[in-house]
Symmetry: C2
């Protein structure tokens, strides 16, 4: 069928299109009939936030009948002439000569009417919510950020690798994980449970991955610089505005990078992709500033132009202890920083992004590199004002003897991680990496209150719809 | 730490680097000692297939001791002067002034020695196999193709969407699927099985997705043009060289596209990403031609320069019936085409890629658009000489009444797919899409005999290692 011009193209090349006859295709957002015998149709095709105004004359016999049935949500193709618009808020409009209806939307039952719906309600109709301004804008911003991530790493010689989703290792015992099985739990007979996994697809217990880091290390120690960008999972029973059971992670991993190199990369990465998004999604970002957070653009621009503060965990504890703030959680060397502490540091003390490094060895995973003081590890958390941690990373322990000691201390089975240990036996090299939760980033950049709006189909306890 | 120059950069900007002192970092592939007191070290850093030759003089006191311990697999940093190479097969070499050892590799235990290992063996050491020429080349080609996929769609105004991995729908009953659960199958008491899912994470049975298509349709019918690129799963007990239990799929989905538009997009897509790979991975592709398939480059170039044949299923059946070939499977209107039929058509009849369209309604899924003859649907299979089907797609049924009729015929529950039906009730529009199995494409382009080499960590029955 004849492809129409996309509305974003019409707007961005107005001069080019003015006076020409074009076809557009999309969904009716609103229709308003004037007494003068004209209908004003706001048409959206998802290519941008803005609607194209269609001017349809009631006397036009070619589409008079169509016009009567057109309501919010209908899908149409329109041919017409691109003309200067006298209306405010738009420079061009389309004078329809032909309207082809594709699909109606009965106003008695179509759930998306011209009013603001709550996000809770919209989540229940996730098959229609991408037709709203907010979710359309989220989708475009999410798309731009996804591609920016690839552009950033590709331009720097990183190789994109896809690490496995199904894994037999329960990865550093990172909280609750999902099992993957072909066994039918309603069909297990008593007494079968002993050797039950022999009948399972992989012949052993398998899980959904919580991180691609350990496998990415394999590729860093052969290809040099790699990154993953894929789904990861947590079966935590957390019903908060910041947790998803299924979310996407970006995990770069680099040979011959120490913690300082890692910090620099994380900063350049964050700033570059935010800047790309601000530049290329200006209209959508203005929308979020208007409806979510007035200072959104300003805050993000400040991040792009700042240089991130770097402090050690020990220095951070000192700063917190000196403060007069009334924290709910006690501040003590050896305890993890709480959200309130992180926010105090970025929002009150530094007033910009800050990376905390060199955390106590006891509170961090076995693979982080032990510092010379033997009490801390070369970890880093990158904190943003307003949202807290968005990046966690470390230099990895590349020394065989120290890794084995760490595994023993933390109770990690050398047998289960034989291959990981062997990476230190054969051609080991200093290397580092970090992870960024993609939906947290989307939430941060759009100012959305709940992370469930930052992903097309959120999975949370009790919810796996669509 | 000081970052070295990557070897691919040295080679691609030889003129620039000649005579300069640089640092490189990587893994020793081989070391050969001459009687004249010189060691020749082949260093690889994963940035390209080629090794950099390091010239190390035994008399150089700075690294004499290091040199003795350097063996295949060791990781080192080398500083030296880029010099013209008198040796054949390379234009430059590095005269070492300093060698910094990062990690040794005991030749008595390091599994990757300088000889050809079988792919079966390499799969067992998947943590080291990316250090081989073949797996390094696969990784770079896979990376280039991944990025080419994003570039192709982004340049055409498509939005990348991430469809869910965990799903409550068993998607058109597509064969065997994996269950996702937090229930422990060894810990289910008799009598509990009745309402067992009430205790499960999502409160209902959930599975790993077999396709993002149905969810992508949601976004096509709001954003216009979208694509997914993510992992999908099949729990089929297939131990073949073409099947994986976990593989990545690309699934574009476009509103206002009919089958002809869909065919054109699939052809442009295939040709563009193959051309990008041939151009940017020339060295790796030459390697595959040399060791996998001598005619590889020629075949791929022919595909890039061909225009794909388009025939209906009915025409294809006629061609097969007319042939004198002795097929194992009978040729009959109404049966699916077998691999031998597909290969005969592309390799003998057309001698180029061919798209078969308009398949019998009875052998295709419920969502494909019913043609006017009511006997066929607007399906398409894109076949490649040598490998068969790499793309499957269709125009989707956008008419509510026909969709409901199809669902009834195929025994699909309207209740389970309520939201999918509603997309046809509210603002439905003609739309189309297709799916491409990414590892099949990688296998096809590299000429690899087994798909298990086309992915970093293959998952197959009984295998979920690493």
């Amino acid at each position: 069928m004849q492809q129409g011009v996309r509305i974003t193209e019409l707007f961005s090349e107005e001069e080019e299109y003015l006076g020409k006859t074009v076809k557009v295709q999309g969904w009716v957002r609103t229709k308003r009939d004037s007494k003068a015998g004209i209908s004003f149709i706001e048409l959206n095709d998802g290519s941008c936030l803005r609607n194209l105004q269609i001017i349809a004359e009631h006397e036009e016999s070619d589409y008079r009948e169509v016009l009567d049935k057109l309501t919010t949500g209908s899908s149409i193709g329109v041919e017409g002439k691109v003309s200067p618009s006298p209306g405010k808020g738009q420079s061009i409009e389309l004078h329809a000569t032909k309207i082809e209806p594709y699909g109606w939307a009965d106003p008695a039952t179509y759930p998306l009417q011209k009013k603001r719906h709550s996000f809770e309600f919209l989540r229940q109709i996730a098959h229609l919510r991408s037709r709203t301004n907010t979710m359309g804008a989220v989708t475009r911003v999410r798309n731009r950020l996804s591609y920016a991530i690839h552009q950033f790493f590709q331009e720097r010689g990183f190789h994109y690798i896809q690490t496995p989703i199904i894994t037999a290792s329960d990865c550093e015992g990172a909280g609750d994980i999902f099992r993957v099985t072909t066994l039918n739990p309603t069909n297990i007979k008593p007494g079968e449970s002993e050797n039950i996994y022999e009948q399972d697809f992989f012949g052993r217990p398998t899980y959904l991955t919580v991180s691609g880091q350990l496998q990415a290390e394999i590729y860093a120690l052969s290809l040099g610089k790699v990154y993953t960008f894929g789904p990861t999972f947590r079966a935590e029973n957390s019903n908060t505005s910041r947790h998803l059971a299924e979310f996407w992670m970006v995990e770069p991993e680099m040979a011959f990078y120490d913690l300082q190199d890692n910090l620099q990369l994380a900063e350049a990465f964050t700033k570059t992709i935010i800047a790309m998004c601000l530049e290329d999604c200006a209209e959508d970002m203005d929308f979020f500033a208007r409806f979510m957070q007035p200072s959104l653009r300003e805050n993000l621009e400040q991040i792009v132009n700042s240089s991130f503060e770097i402090v050690t965990y020990t220095e951070a504890i000192d700063l917190l202890k000196k403060s007069t703030e009334a924290f709910t959680f006690p501040v003590e060397w050896g305890s993890d920083l709480q959200a309130e502490h992180e926010r105090y540091l970025t929002e009150k003390v530094f007033q910009k992004p800050a990376s905390i490094i060199d955390f106590p060895r006891a509170i961090k995973p076995f693979y982080m590199r032990v510092n010379d003081d033997t009490k801390t590890v070369a970890a880093m958390d990158v904190l943003m004002p307003g949202i807290g941690e968005i990046i966690g990373g470390s230099q990895r322990e590349e020394r065989l003897d120290v890794l084995l000691e760490q595994m023993q201390l933390k109770g990690i089975s050398v047998e289960d991680y034989r291959w990981y240990v062997e990476l230190r036996e054969f051609g080991t090299a200093p290397h580092s990496g970090f992870g960024l939760g993609f939906e947290r980033l989307v939430q941060f950049i759009t100012g959305l209150g709940n992370i469930r709006e930052a992903i097309p189909f959120p999975r949370t306890p009790g919810h796996a719809d669509f």
